[in-house]
Symmetry: C2
Subunit: 481 residues, 2 copies
């Protein structure tokens, strides 16, 4: 979509504020910013992509957008999985990757201050020399940005011991919809002065404000891991281990599960000599160090054996541990080889329901006639069933979406949530309404309306802004200016 003469005024305002190289309007270029990694989430085409270098430039963007009624979609690296940073037609996509400075690392106060465009791995590397650790580790940690992690409240493999992004947020700087700059939170470990606004913005998927700076808590660096792998003949046995880990008070630093579909797909790809007849594989680590780690893994070994594991092996050699983890990391690429398209789901269930959930996904696979592979963060009940299908085949596509919905339905029926860590975006906005119910939705709308009365920030994402409104109508306004 070209920017017509009717829109030239606001583009010129943006260029005046950000410089010509900070404003992209060539559709061949802006198309690259239309969507994130969610293949099947709704997306429009941005009228302009802006790349601010400072909070002041973000303010200028929001002020111009407000004057002209143009919707604004904040975006990091575009590594998201639910379309939360997908463009809206005629809108501005506000890309924060140029604001990529680690402003401070304080070992004495065990915190870092960062701009939103810093890549997750860059912060991890920057604090390592201080003996410190920033735990949240989404799969895309080597290219996703902290701003995106904050907007989505990202998780990862280490959540089972260390929690998610929001657990590390001390303070934020946020540019509000009207261009005002909010500084909220603190540098102290504790603080209860006023509402917890920082955690309201975290996970709000860019619908309430644009995060331009964050003060993040850090932890002491973990010790080299001891790693365990175990295979089981039934998923019920796996579920029994997960439940007993929880009740026995063990807190591994990782506790992952893969089902038979994933085991075989990985084995086909890596020739890793995995147990192809196993119903499920558990992978666990302890990073407590020395004797404690060995004792934790020994306790976990006993739980696996008591549950009737076919095979249990552990190692304190980090290189061998890495090799074992490769099977887990390769699950998604291996599934990708089985079909042209994937629908990656993200359901969290209470930890006592993990086995029931895996079995339910098997049933859904059977009745849909499609492959559904399940990997997941078993230790916190956050499962990623992935539907594999031929996206070019309309019948398969319809069955794939039906299976995707059946998985969400199953998760809710087990007391779970439709998203453990990927977010809602456009992909699950309708399902969100179902999970939250009308009172919670009204409260969401009231807060959105209080902070962004014109509905300019990331319209159509997470939930419909009002019962009557069509998010497309908001995006469409841009053309009128």
């Amino acid at each position: 979509m070209a920017v017509g003469t009717a829109t030239a005024a606001w583009v010129r305002e943006l260029e005046a504020a950000l410089g010509a190289d900070g404003v992209l309007i060539d559709p061949d270029v802006t198309a690259a910013y239309a969507r994130d990694q969610a293949m099947f989430a709704e997306a429009g085409m941005p009228a302009a992509v802006v790349l601010p270098r400072s909070t002041d430039e973000v303010v200028a963007v929001m002020q111009a957008a407000g004057r002209h009624g143009i919707p604004v979609v904040p975006r990091g690296a575009g590594s998201g999985l639910v379309g939360a940073s997908n463009a809206v037609d005629g809108g501005i996509t506000l890309v924060l990757t140029r604001m990529d400075a680690v402003l401070e690392v304080s070992a004495a106060d065990r915190l870092a201050v960062v701009q939103p465009g810093v890549v997750n791995k860059t912060l991890r590397d920057a604090v390592r020399g201080h003996g410190l650790f920033y735990p949240p580790d989404p799969a895309s940690y080597d290219w996703c940005t902290l701003g995106g992690n904050l907007a989505m409240n990202s998780g990862g493999l280490c959540c089972v011991k260390y929690g998610v992004t929001t657990d590390y947020v001390l303070g934020l700087e946020v540019v509000l919809a009207d261009g005002r700059v909010l500084r909220t939170g603190r540098r102290t470990v504790k603080g209860v002065a006023g509402y917890d606004l920082a955690r309201l913005f975290v996970g709000s998927e860019g619908t309430l404000g644009v995060i331009t700076e964050a003060t993040l808590a850090l932890r002491p660096a973990p010790r080299p891991p001891v790693t365990l792998v175990a295979s089981f003949g039934t998923s019920a046995q796996t579920g029994q281990v997960v439940e007993q880990v929880v009740t026995s008070g063990l807190v591994p630093s990782m506790l992952e599960v893969m089902d038979r579909t994933c085991i075989r797909a990985v084995d086909d790809m890596l020739r890793a000599d995995l147990d192809r007849d196993a119903a499920a594989l558990l992978l666990a680590q302890s990073d407590s160090g020395g004797e404690v780690a060995r004792a934790e893994i020994a306790a976990l070994t006993r739980l696996c054996e008591a549950a009737g594991a076919d095979f249990v092996h552990s190692t304190d050699d980090p290189a061998e541990g890495d090799l074992l983890m490769t099977a887990r990391r390769m699950a998604l690429p291996a599934l990708e080889r089985l079909g042209s398209s994937l629908l990656l789901d993200d359901v969290a269930v209470p930890r006592s329901r993990v086995a029931t959930f895996i079995d339910g996904c098997d049933t859904i696979a059977d009745s849909s006639g499609l492959v559904v592979g399940v990997v997941g963060h078993a230790g916190d009940g956050n499962m990623h069933p992935t539907v594999v299908f031929d996206g070019g085949d309309p019948d398969q596509r319809a069955r794939a979406f039906a299976a995707f919905d059946a998985i969400l339905e199953l998760g809710l029926s087990l007391g779970g949530t439709i998203t453990g860590e990927h977010g809602v975006g456009t992909l699950k906005a309708d399902w969100l309404e179902r999970e939250l119910g009308p009172v919670s939705l009204d409260v969401h709308r009231a807060i959105k309306s209080a902070l962004d009365p014109a509905g300019l920030l990331n319209p159509g994402k997470v939930f419909r802004t009002s019962r009557a409104a069509d998010p497309g109508a908001v995006a469409g306004l841009a053309g009128a200016h």
Copy 2:
């Protein structure tokens, strides 16, 4: 204040919904509900005190309050320290102590579901048999309620390792200002479906809704503690230890400090043979168990010795550890013996500024001519300087309030916050405006207005509802109905 004929209609409505024994209007009885433990915070007199037994009864109270425009002050045990549950003149004080059931303890999902009137210690005791632990432990844990802990986001001694109340909240049921019932959050460990509303209500001091049920995460029970005590000739040495604990990656389960004023007051009371010449005493514990705990305390011992401690002693005998902790627990009662009145402050500073803060409090004590004793959770920088004075002497009183303000000023100047864990209430509402600044205050007001447009919930607490409004004027409306 008696309830006149003009207000009788709403009282009869409340009696019809709650039963006569659920509605108290005798001023001799209701006076007991006028204030919490903050001696000097603003307080009015309630026109009625209601004691609902169920969420439905809370709904009935909010509906009646809405129909008649009567302000409502939610209240737990009244153990607060900032007047957050102090009555407003002519309002309803909504006491939640009768809703005191532990509804569920799930070892398999490591969580508990509770009503708001459950006493903190009751939950701790209820989960102990499952090998579980609810960490937040305010000093009043044996009589304060979880509803109050949630409303205030309470902390305690174990925050340095385990975090505060909000870190344990998975889901909430909240009765909104208009009587609708919001259920928000989840039973799963992870979840990002929609805004983090639960953590918005936590710490909002009853200004956004009435919490009627909570789903709380639990942890594995800690191991018996190893305890260390060390005394120092200068507070700078203490600060050095705190800073080195942080930078070295040690995470004790407790790290407390007492200054010379407190040491001497406690020694006078307990004849405990404390080092009366020490500038500060550090008390620390590790609950990691066995060799790990002994190694952590040994590392801490080395840090204390390197900083030039006059005396270091540690023990893994829990009874001896308890005895050492008595000195810390008795600090406030010991200070109370020194004067008729106390002003207990609650400033959190970055951990690197603990020593500077203690020294600053000394200077403030000298210049005010009053005793200021400092105890604090050194490990998380949350300090409780306490001004001791004769409340009957107007000159001392004025100097005490000036010292109290000077301590807040000092905290802010060191990058700290005016409240680490006690909250704002009426005591610090003016200071809150100073800490947050105009943009954050506007956002607070916008959210308050979105959720409670009539301003019925706990008016005048935390912050002034609008720039122009006088909270007394809202409370005064009650008389007009």
